[in-house]
Symmetry: C2
Subunit: 129 residues, 2 copies
Amino acid sequence: MPQEGLAVGIVRAYWTAMQTNDFYRAAECLAEDFVLDWPQSNERIRGRANFAALNSEYPANGPWRFTVHTIVGNDDEAVSDVSVTDGVQSARAITFSQVRAGLIVRQTEFWPEPYAAPANRAHLVESIS
Amino acid sequence: MPQEGLAVGIVRAYWTAMQTNDFYRAAECLAEDFVLDWPQSNERIRGRANFAALNSEYPANGPWRFTVHTIVGNDDEAVSDVSVTDGVQSARAITFSQVRAGLIVRQTEFWPEPYAAPANRAHLVESIS
């Protein structure tokens, strides 16, 4: 079995820290000058302090639970596929992370939403579940 | 500079083949028993023949152009972030690929859509562009 890349381990530790819902603690996985981009809404969060504040202020119905489906990467970069729920709201986050010196320096994150399967390709697909 | 992982190179070749818009040619990057999941619509495409047919039949306003933003991975797995447009329709595909023996055996693909930035976090973000 190949050794897990360094960035994969750091991103795994980041999601473990997020699971505590202490987002100031999770922010300790991030560099001071960390930058997170959300291309879908054209938003950039600059700095670990803003990251922790934004996650702490986000309206929630209870503690956030994070389920890590997969993390793919190497020593420098990793991409995670994670489901997030507070028991009422549910979302899926696909996060590209760059790591330097043991800290996440940059993330680009996507939030894909469910959509109805188009009828015109039903003859070529099956249901996943 | 670290050597590019094998799976990263194969996924790069896959997108280069997609760029030809000959989806039967692109399907040669896939294993015969290839499986592609689209979790957002709960659709599974099984086999390279269905993959090529589905892409060939998809309603388009002109040739599809693919812009590869990044590919992250190692010898066995890679994740790509790619913009797709036919000049009228535009989309972004985030694709997790597993590679065995030089062929893509499995993909899980997400299609994140733009959304409006929430006002309640405007004090913590800036625009990307």
